[in-house]
């Protein structure tokens, strides 16, 4: 490179750095494709350079939508492992979550409809949430900040056609869940969710470390002993571990001592050991008609007297839990929690 070009390059870089500092935040892109997270046809969701797939142990139920999750890291940047809480992300990193419905749940090969892609971008000032809605042609997705809803239908595993008015949250609603002491935070990128055995009997966190995507995982890390959630979809796991993992993934983003539902005094994170905080023998604080005329969050042995289950079984917005992101009853989740409460001894 000749000297004038070098100077120009430095000059341009300076402008770039300057503008990056002056701008309060980067303007979001209108189309998902503009980020270049995926190579080839966008709908195939083939990760591009710097983008990699991750899996969670216990997924959040989102009206039977399936999800594929990716992390984008700028070159040479790494996740910083943490034993508890969300991993530390470098500036410029993105968490990418795609929501889709198989046209027929029993026949995934018949194709899928991707409805939404949510991005969490780590910026200088912290996290920013953006959501992109896919077009019917499945060629691209467009930014939406104020929320939206549109009809979606699919054939469920039992062969039944389900029609749903799918709801995309607005950016404030994103924070309704993604909040730790009022600060925006990722939820799923934690040891308890990612300490997971992948195909080939290899541990996901150790793979990330080996591949240079993450640093800080201690050499002494023991995937078996490290605190992690059970994959509640696997029924050979103990009932208690499954149920606690389910509650952690579906409730504890709000119901923890630092979350938006701390007001209730009901903490459903898997680390919680105080039965009262889990809801056992605990009267509601501000449940209103969400109590369903039941007296306590959990009545051991009596699922049909437990407010927790009542709220999972309902779809009325004034009763249902979680408040956001669920319009259908998660039958499998309800069955799991019912069985768990049934087996609890007071």
């Amino acid at each position: 490179m000749t000297a004038p070009f070098k100077i120009f390059g430095l000059f341009a870089m300076g402008i770039f750095m300057l503008s990056a500092n002056i701008l309060p935040e980067k303007a979001p892109k209108t189309l998902l494709s503009e980020y270049g997270y995926f190579s080839g046809a966008l709908q195939n969701l083939q990760p591009a350079e710097g983008v990699f797939l991750y899996e969670v142990n216990a997924p959040l139920f989102s009206d039977y939508a399936e999800k594929s999750r990716f992390i984008y890291l700028p070159s040479d940047a790494r996740l910083q492992y943490r034993e508890s809480g969300a991993f530390q992300f470098p500036e410029g990193a993105t968490i990418i979550k795609n929501f889709y419905y198989p046209l027929e749940a029993a026949h995934p090969e018949k194709g899928r409809r991707i409805v939404e892609t949510r991005l969490l971008l780590k910026e200088v000032k912290g996290w920013k949430a953006l959501t992109y809605i896919w077009n019917n042609e499945q060629t691209d997705a467009t930014l939406e900040v104020a929320g939206a809803s549109f009809p979606v239908s699919w054939i469920d595993a039992g062969g039944k056609k389900i029609n749903l008015e799918y709801v995309v949250p607005n950016v404030n609603q994103c924070k309704g869940c993604h909040s730790y002491d009022g600060q925006f935070t990722p939820i799923g990128v934690t040891q308890k969710q990612l300490d997971r055995t992948l195909a080939g009997n290899r541990n996901q966190l150790q793979i990330f470390q080996q591949q240079g995507q993450m640093e800080g995982l201690p050499a002494s890390f023991d995937p078996e002993k490290a605190f992690h959630l059970a994959d509640y979809r696997q029924r050979e796991i103990s009932l208690d571990a499954s149920a606690r993992a389910y509650l952690d993934a579906n409730c504890a983003h709000c119901h923890n001592p630092h979350g938006p539902a701390s007001t209730s005094g009901m903490f459903l994170n898997a680390e919680e050991t105080d039965l009262e905080h889990l809801g056992v023998g605990k009267p509601p604080v501000a449940a209103g008609r969400g109590s369903g005329n039941r007296k306590y969050g959990i009545v051991p042995g009596k699922p049909s007297e437990s407010i927790l289950l009542y709220r999972m079984e309902h779809t009325d917005p004034g009763i249902r839990m979680p408040e956001l992101g669920r319009q259908l009853v998660h039958e499998e989740g309800v069955a799991l929690i019912r069985e768990w409460i049934h087996g609890l001894r007071g």
Binding site: E25, T142, I307
Partner: protein, 394 residues
């Protein structure tokens, strides 16, 4: 180019056919999301149907202003998304004024984690006859700091009309609460002044509660004065399980397990069961598992209130009311104390130490009884009408 401007451009690019939200709802929500420091957002006049929670998060110095309580009406009757009508979170210096919100599925206006919150000239109501399927709270600041609620009206809440929970530095004044289970409730909140309000035709007029198992453990330093608290005899329509479901119809003021509460110069009339009740949490008959929780009231001072003359027939529709009827007939005293005392607060002679006392000063028609309940919520039968042990002041 400013990012805010870019966002606006992107919004205008959206395909209108995709969205089920009404244009007005979408416009308001977008304004709330894009609001800049110091901005006033004007809500248009008219009845506006809103299908989901409108939310404001992480903003400073924002005013949300309607064209008047009778002109700008946000109705959530057909709400399908979110429980609250309006939700304000993690913000500073937020003013809501001059509009009406009604018929949300859950709470009407919830504010959480807000420093500097003002509600002025807001009506928050459920229309139609009060019923258990109404939402819990009409105006609901929780975990807030410096809250002023002025000239607001709350109607039809199945829990509390104006409910301030786990907050600090609170003014509630010149408000009207009617046909709620609790008219005004101050819960686990410190430094609250409640004055010159009107609480009519609720199940309970004004409640000051401290409850267990909450992150903010202890309320207190609450003043309730110059209020009009009348005919709070409405049937209790709270869904069971909620603590206010235990408030007997005919309750004027109830102080539950709270310390440093002064109730004075109120006009309290024709509340048929308990014009003013001072009780411990044991009266709820709920088990207490929170070891840091203090279930006893202390430093409560009731003075210079005006109680109505004449007979009052307590409700039979609650255990407490029934017991009052059984013990007192139509001559139920105005000021009732459950008499459950903390053994750790007694001196060697078995008297409550001065710093933990309950004080009953002069009140017009201020008849008194210590009903001497026990921790199981049972009554030992030796009711005392002797006021002398409580003749003190703070």
């Amino acid at each position: 180019m400013k990012p805010i401007f870019l966002l606006t451009v992107f919004l205008s690019l959206m395909q209108a056919t995709v969205f089920a939200q009404s244009d007005v709802e979408k416009k308001i929500q977008t304004q709330l999301i894009l609001a800049e420091d110091g901005e006033t957002i004007n809500l248009p006049a008219g009845t506006i149907e809103i299908g989901g929670t409108l939310s404001l998060d992480g903003k400073n110095n924002i005013t949300l202003r309607g064209a008047g309580q009778d002109k700008t009406i946000l109705t959530f009757k057909k709400q399908t998304q979110g429980a609250e009508g309006l939700k304000i979170t993690n913000a500073q210096n937020i003013v809501l004024e001059q509009f009406t919100v009604e018929d949300s599925k859950g709470d009407l206006i919830k504010a959480q984690g807000v420093k500097g919150l003002e509600f002025r000239d807001i009506t928050a109501r459920w229309t139609g006859p009060p019923k258990a399927s109404n939402g819990s709270y009409a105006l609901y600041p929780v975990q807030c700091q410096t809250v002023r609620i002025e000239r607001c009206t709350a109607i039809g809440a199945s829990d509390a009309g104006i409910y301030v929970g786990q907050s600090d530095s609170v003014w509630v004044t010149a408000c009207v609460a009617k046909n709620n289970v609790a008219g005004i409730e101050i819960e686990n909140t410190t430094h609250a002044w409640v004055w010159k309000n009107q609480a009519f035709a609720n199940t309970g007029g004004i409640l000051v509660f401290d409850l267990p198992d909450l992150p903010k453990k202890q309320g207190g330093h609450v003043k309730v004065y110059d209020n009009l608290i009348g005919r709070n005899n409405f049937k209790n329509f709270a869904p069971k399980g909620n603590i206010v479901g235990k408030v007997p119809p005919g309750t004027g003021v109830m102080i539950l397990a709270t310390n440093d509460v002064e109730v004075y110069q109120n006009k309290i009339w024709e509340n048929k069961t308990a014009s003013t009740a001072i009780v411990s949490y044991f009266i709820s008959e709920n088990p207490i598992k929170d070891k840091q929780y203090n279930p006893y009231p202390s430093r409560v001072y009731i003075h210079d209130n005006i109680y109505s003359e004449g007979k009052r027939m307590p409700t039979w529709k609650s255990k407490l009311g029934f017991i009052f009827w059984w013990k007192f007939g139509k001559k139920v005293p105005h000021i009732l104390y459950d008499g459950i005392e903390n053994p750790d607060w007694k001196d060697a002679q078995g008297h409550i130490k001065p710093e933990y006392k309950i004080c009953i000063g002069p009140n017009e028609n201020g008849t008194f009884a210590n009903i001497r309940a026990d921790k199981l919520g049972l009554f030992k039968g030796k009711i005392s009408k002797d006021k002398t042990p409580y003749d003190c002041a703070f």
